[in-house]
């Protein structure tokens, strides 16, 4: 299936447009839970880029989407030209710590890793390229 592409400024205010784009191929028959998973993964990745990738005056993010329900699943690729950063290398948070000892960050990437079926990062031509794939509609979750 051919990929569709969206280019937006890496700003949190563009989040609704990015989520609309990421979920555009999902049908009304797509279970709410799966739709929510895609929205959550998209939000965590995009907000990370919008918050940390660029110094002033900022830059763009390209989101490439292919597939959807069934088949090879939904694939989303996030490309930015900011500082090289592989979020997948971030250590998982310690979920056993008590509330007062819990660090405040690191949960977003952890959620992404928990939810998606495949995740791949590469740094190429001075771009961060993060691709995630999620199979939608399979029985086990």
């Amino acid at each position: 299936m051919s990929a569709e592409e969206l280019r937006v400024e890496a700003k949190v205010e563009n989040l609704p447009a990015v989520i609309d784009f990421a979920t555009a191929t999902l049908s009304d028959a797509c279970p709410m839970k799966e739709r929510m998973h895609i929205e959550l993964v998209t939000e965590e990745i995009f907000v990370n880029i919008a918050s940390y990738a660029y110094a002033e005056p900022g830059g763009d993010v390209v989101i490439r989407r292919s597939g959807g329900e069934g088949g090879e699943g939904l694939s989303l690729t996030f490309i930015d030209g900011g500082v090289p950063y592989d979020p997948l290398q971030r250590p998982d948070p310690d979920l056993t710590l008590a509330a007062e000892d819990r660090p405040i960050g690191g949960l977003g990437v952890f959620l992404v890793k928990k939810i998606v079926d495949e995740a791949h990062y590469e740094y190429k031509d001075e771009k961060n390229i993060l691709t995630v794939r999620k199979f939608i509609g399979k029985k086990e979750d």
């Binding site: 949190v12 205010e13 989040l15 709410m32 839970k33 929510m36 929205e39 959550l40 939000e43 965590e44 907000v47 948070p93 979920l95 056993t96 008590a98 509330a99 007062e100 819990r102 405040i104 960050g105 949960l107 977003g108 952890f110 959620l111 928990k114 939810i115």
Partner: protein
């Protein structure tokens, strides 16, 4: 997201409706900072909360840390979609959650 507040002496109930995404979490955090002075019992009613992202979890955690010093925080009527995110991150053990 919409936030409704109902104060009764030192008890405060905040009802959250809609999506607690990154944008809403910033507003929620401000609202909490402005509302918690003197509060000993904080109830977050999540009956109409349909979505939470990690930024929202961080706000819950901050509220929990503050309320642990001055009283107690309880979450109520948490929907399945939100509960799943709380469970995935171990927040179901950190927070006091009533069905």
């Amino acid at each position: 997201m919409e936030i409704k507040k109902e104060q009764n002496g030192t008890s405060l109930t905040m009802s959250l409706a809609g999506r607690l995404d990154t944008v809403a979490a910033a507003d929620f955090e401000k609202e909490l900072s402005a509302s918690l002075d003197g509060v000993e019992t904080l109830v977050l009613d999540c009956a109409e909360l349909t979505y939470v992202a990690s930024s929202g979890l961080r706000t819950f955690l901050m509220a929990q840390k503050r309320m642990a010093k001055q009283g107690k925080m309880t979450m109520r009527h948490v929907q399945d979609a939100v509960m799943e995110v709380l469970s995935m991150t171990g927040f179901d053990d950190l927070l006091s959650i009533e069905k």
